[in-house]
Symmetry: C3
Subunit: 334 residues, 3 copies
Amino acid sequence: MIETVIKSYDLDRLAVATIASHTALQILRAAKRRGFKTLAVARPSSAWFYKRFQFIDEVWEADFSNFRLVAEKLAENNAVLIPHGSYVEYVGWRQALEAPVPTFGVRRLIEVEADQYKKMDLLRRAGIPIPRSYAPEEVDRPVIVKLFGAKGGRGYFLARNREELVQRLREVKEPYIIQEYVFGVPAYYHFFASPMYVRVELFGMDVRYETNVDGRTFGLVEPTFVVVANLPLVLRESLLPTVQKYGEAFADAVREALGEEMKGPYSLESIIRDDLSIVVFEFSGRIVAGTNVYMGVGSQYSVLYFDEPMDMGERIAHELQLARERGRLEDVVS
Amino acid sequence: MIETVIKSYDLDRLAVATIASHTALQILRAAKRRGFKTLAVARPSSAWFYKRFQFIDEVWEADFSNFRLVAEKLAENNAVLIPHGSYVEYVGWRQALEAPVPTFGVRRLIEVEADQYKKMDLLRRAGIPIPRSYAPEEVDRPVIVKLFGAKGGRGYFLARNREELVQRLREVKEPYIIQEYVFGVPAYYHFFASPMYVRVELFGMDVRYETNVDGRTFGLVEPTFVVVANLPLVLRESLLPTVQKYGEAFADAVREALGEEMKGPYSLESIIRDDLSIVVFEFSGRIVAGTNVYMGVGSQYSVLYFDEPMDMGERIAHELQLARERGRLEDVVS
Amino acid sequence: MIETVIKSYDLDRLAVATIASHTALQILRAAKRRGFKTLAVARPSSAWFYKRFQFIDEVWEADFSNFRLVAEKLAENNAVLIPHGSYVEYVGWRQALEAPVPTFGVRRLIEVEADQYKKMDLLRRAGIPIPRSYAPEEVDRPVIVKLFGAKGGRGYFLARNREELVQRLREVKEPYIIQEYVFGVPAYYHFFASPMYVRVELFGMDVRYETNVDGRTFGLVEPTFVVVANLPLVLRESLLPTVQKYGEAFADAVREALGEEMKGPYSLESIIRDDLSIVVFEFSGRIVAGTNVYMGVGSQYSVLYFDEPMDMGERIAHELQLARERGRLEDVVS
């Protein structure tokens, strides 16, 4: 069905659209530089901000509770929608799955990610080490509890032992997963699966900056894990082959589980232990906000594949350019 | 009076000058690239270091206790002085207010910043959330005490409760302010108010790296807050409209309070709470050292306004170029 | 002897070689861009990864236990070997000292670094402040213990007092050094000593990201110091003259102690105290992994010397280009 929409597009007027939040500035700036028309779909409260930027051709104010209408209008405008975490949050995963607009990447991952157990299953299938999950009564060490509805780290909490866990779970009214709290440092890897180059690129990485766990709290308040910012980092080079292997294994698992090629940006989110093992506790099937650390300046890893530093927005726009030239847009959207 | 000085300038020989510390390398490198003569005014102990760099045309050794003479000589050299924190520290705020040399930005903010209460008042007037201030006897939670004469974080201390506060205040001999210790992560925003483009640009951000509070101290020593370095970061995009709003509100408050347009670089210094609210505990009315994280490589946010990444030194030089071309230098200095 | 090898080289076919780990991607990418043939010598387990990159002309799989054969083959291929920490780790310092291939920089520093006491002596000779060393019975404060065979921070441990020290030393079977645990923040400075420009360049800096000491461990596990990643930072400008002074003093001490000019990349690894003093607890006589934070994008400090941002790999390649042009290759290798 999306293929039909794509076939009706006027490719000379192809537009790149996204929801005005998350990584919209990065995506739209890059799209404009590479010759696409740019559309931002904004909540009324933040439309003023996006209107400040000349690289955004149109800022639409939208009602996200009925996204179908927006999606149809996007399709009328020859738009490819670049999905991101705020999009899924604003419209909900069911609307996102069904929106009648060509969507960059593998749309069906949105459904997998809506369920923490399915999410972990896909990583397990890929052979990627993941943290052990626990039933409450099994807990014999520090654990982290993640509510299914957690957004940007809000709705995560630490329990140092079973007693603390039991006490805190009393307040919880929604589905959750209990995972081993892995000791080590967090690191988040950005990949790009390219149907045009037929390869998985390790394109960058970041650390999240979370309030208040990364603040100076002197043990005076309980840790919380709300992401507010990202910092760039580079990994010890001897760990890169492992990271690349996991990135490719993820793409293979998607092909196997969903029967379709992985494409577009995605992320594996890990803790690195002091034995240098990497435990992946989460993934994102689309562009992550951590890629913003490279906006306009390009990442250290992008130069491994391209002659000049590039950000993920530029990478997406580049893939779209190639797909358009080659008449293969249907291979990069779903 | 400064307008008279400017009118006497030979604009073809316009120079950019600054005090040799803080952000001098960034400022002077950019000025040189954009065609200005460059002057560094150094303390004798560090002049040798600045003489190493070819982009600095002249390094003057100076006596900062009598800055009037230096300022006059700068004016004879057609120089615009770019003020920064070390300048104010070396010459003192009274000399800085009266120096007979055109000074980039709003000079009168130096006086506001010399008094922690006036400083907080300006933020309050802008409608920007600030930490609660306390009289010692009101304190019922962790607080941070800032001595008026604090430099680069030295002279700040944490008191976990009223008892600790009372005890530590016994050693304090100078004016101070007691503020609520806000739990969350620090983030510092760099703005540029442009009379030439008539806009406030969110140009970058950073985190400070403070010894020993950011060190690995395992609770074995008391926290101190001396800034030694800065790291780049990017903010969650959904927070940017709020940051932009506060940046513009600050410029409005300056206009209202001082009766002159905000111009040049400035900074708001904040803690982000885990409810995503932003509390601004400090501002700087001129270039901050955190902008050095983008020296020569440009910031992620600069590309939202300009085609290539730019650092704050380049931004200043660009504004000066435009002001000179348009015969409007008096609009960017004071 | 190395001079004889160099004289036999076909300079039009000069190759840059390194061991496939650590900073190999940075080094080889830059060498390729600047017109050198590129060779990666890989462990069989990671050769596949390096074969992914077009800028590497040849990936050799090698047996590091007999490195002499590899070195001879490198010399037959007109290669200059760029040494780094993983090279020394893989082949051992004795083989590295004797490998019959021109090696960038001062090779004899490898021997100095193999002994923690000789290492500290060289810093002391340079007049650079170092942490106090202790015999176990002298310890009256927190200390850090470093095993001679420590790699990438593994084999370091903290002892908060003499009792803890004595207890932990019982398990230690190899040589070690006990140093004062300096409270403050870590910072690592990258230098480049250039025989071509006859100067020491302060080229960048970084912070290490260590598991689990930089993780969120809430005091629930013992701190460990295994380096897994690096983050970029910029220093307070008023500290730069001191850092530059120490960098130059190190080069002077090498000349004095070894009777040969310092050349190529090196690093001083420090803690900055809250009185702004800098204590250097370690050095590396060659490229450090922290330079990877600038791969392809260039460092903030590189622009102080060159017109465009540059990474350390590019800096090495640039020096090699100049040395080749001027017929002075023997001045940059040993």
